[in-house]
Subunit: 159 residues, 2 copies
């Protein structure tokens, strides 16, 4: 690998490590486990699973990597707070959506060259990107990986 | 900037963004705020502030960036669970240590070339590194950034 390929492979390794750890957390959880809140009056794990899946799914169009798999998750898991709508997906559906979205993203990430990681994402204008070249696809990957870790820390409070 | 410089600058941008957000969280906290637990029977914010500072401080020797500033934080904040020892640092001392450690790290990070980011860190042997070249300094930076986000998510539960 060339140095720039090693750099992007290292960043992709971080994404894979965090998603794999969360896979192991979600996989054995029962419907009852998912109903638990991470702290009193805070989000349920069920909500955070949907929230992380929806936020990741949004990366597909944002990084021009293909169509979204689960746009129906935005309303209950990104736009509305927890417990404002009846639960719209079964635990099995939600767990499968989590796996499918991340699998589609990871496969697309693996194909990007270092130059493509440095390209602008669709949430920044060409004009702004000319001034701020760090607002690239890699920045989105790192930001979403940290978003996973942020909520992972909350889920880890539930014993 | 060359492509590999843009890649490492983007990763460094993620580190700076997360530390800056935590600066804003810790800065206004009173001694009383720091005593709050992130959830019942879970760590106090005081402990997490010391824990993150100590974990970051360890990057200095790990990445061959200089001597540690606060090795005395390991015992109370990394090796022992919360509330097993009397509080050894005042809130002001702990907040200052957080700022000093991150300032020293960030200044050192800014000077690393892309090639230096790809070098082995001291926690991996030369033999293992030959087989696993992704166990480099950049991987440690990304892992520590996600460690910050993990506990940031917990601290954000306290309103």
């Amino acid at each position: 690998m060339t140095p720039d390929q090693l750099l992007t492979a290292t960043a992709l390794g971080s994404w894979k490590q965090v998603t794999a750890r969360l896979d192991k957390v979600f996989e054995p959880m029962s419907a009852e486990d998912l109903q638990r809140q991470v702290a009193p009056e805070r989000n349920r794990i069920y909500y955070l699973l949907g929230h992380l899946t929806a936020a990741n799914d949004r990366m597909l169009p944002m990084l021009s990597l293909g169509d979204r798999l689960h746009p129906e998750l935005d309303e209950p898991f990104l736009l509305k707070p927890d417990k404002t709508l009846p639960d719209s997906a079964t635990p099995e559906e939600l767990k499968q959506a989590w796996l499918d979205v991340n699998a589609k993203l990871t496969a697309a990430f693996e194909k990007l060259s270092p130059g493509q990681w440095l390209e602008r994402h669709t949430a920044v204008s060409e004009e702004d990107f000319a001034k701020e070249p760090l607002r690239n696809r890699l920045a989105v990957l790192l930001s979403r990986t940290n978003h996973l870790s942020f909520h992972f820390g909350q889920i880890a409070l539930v014993k």
